[in-house]
Point group: C2
Chain length 244, copies 2
Amino acid sequence: MSSAPERRLRADRARQAADVIRRQVVQRSYPDGVLPDERFLAAEFSASRNTIREALALLREEGLIERVPGVGTVVVTEKCVHGLDRLMGLAETLHEQGEVTNDIRAAGPIRPPSSVARRLRLADGEPVVYVERLRRLDGLPLSLDLTYLPVDVGAPLLAQDLRNHDIFSLIEQTSGQRLGAADVALEAVNADLHSATVLEVPRGAALLVVERLSHFADGRPVDLEFIRLRGDRLTMRAVLDRRD
Amino acid sequence: MSSAPERRLRADRARQAADVIRRQVVQRSYPDGVLPDERFLAAEFSASRNTIREALALLREEGLIERVPGVGTVVVTEKCVHGLDRLMGLAETLHEQGEVTNDIRAAGPIRPPSSVARRLRLADGEPVVYVERLRRLDGLPLSLDLTYLPVDVGAPLLAQDLRNHDIFSLIEQTSGQRLGAADVALEAVNADLHSATVLEVPRGAALLVVERLSHFADGRPVDLEFIRLRGDRLTMRAVLDRRD
């Protein structure tokens, strides 16, 4: 059965402290990005200094903090925040956090697999426009996006500045229609070797994998994306309601 | 600059096919959980059989499919689906997908770190009730949840059946108050050794890490949770709206 919180393994107590410190790091709550010293943290968490050391080791392993001689423990990764509440393009949502640019790895018409055609409500055999982008925030890879668009929506984008603009805003501009709702599915997946190379992370690094089907305001599905986001660079945020 | 979609590396084409097949697997779209054969998939994706083999290798690496001699390629993991639209307890949201039980790893009062006290709007030095649960779906570990509750909300739970009930429903029962909204932050993180052991996954396995602060309907924050979910067992779903 259960045990009193203070009588658990050090590893459990270290994880418990690490979770709280992680949020402080991600929310940039430590002034100048320097963590309090071990003695302070030990008092704060009613824990031994060994437990705190183990907690900090977990966050170092995640690449969030580093120990700098003469300075202390400092935050080395700033995660950016992507809202899950509203349907927004990456540049739109991150405009205060840095500059988004896109390497266009592929752009043109393809014959889609039938499950993609079905999701976009296209007849079998109808082509789609496929766009593959490596998206960067301030130059560093953030996500790899594979996008399928019906030809009437996608073809006009091929003449646009895909490098510097979100597909969402380009769709709304060129079509004259507003986007409405999107269905989103989200998973955590270890990076395969090739995706890891493209995203400049170690093989096996934790990625957020998002599948998102966006519709025009009238309900027509027009943009199916498969997105790999670097787990070390991004936090998703949402407000959920409990309603019946 | 960009290249035509058909002139890319095989690894890029394999990833593209793997993403579409992954969704089919997760959505249980293949009858009896058996994938079509390589020749069919090659035609479906306008790809070579080598590309399809590489795509299937990626999904095997993720532990989603296996090759079974005499049968073909079969789905071996069924991911369960957790809605991100509504604030719901795990048992509540998964009741059609299996039975949720909880190992209570710790339950009792602790002195919280000040950032936890602040988020729950408690005075410094006020105790909280801490509950740590390993949550299982049909016996298999699904998530590890670390929960902080104000004493007036948490203490009555200690006499309740935490093993078989969601904390959300127990809170509403014992307090007589309804939960309202929750702030959620979501990340992908590689499992540290100890968490991996508890969750029965390999070290480094991709986890969804969720921090969730739930409030009563009147706005008072009453339940702060740090949750590690096995990436190989769970998909999160949401519908997003594009509104200004």
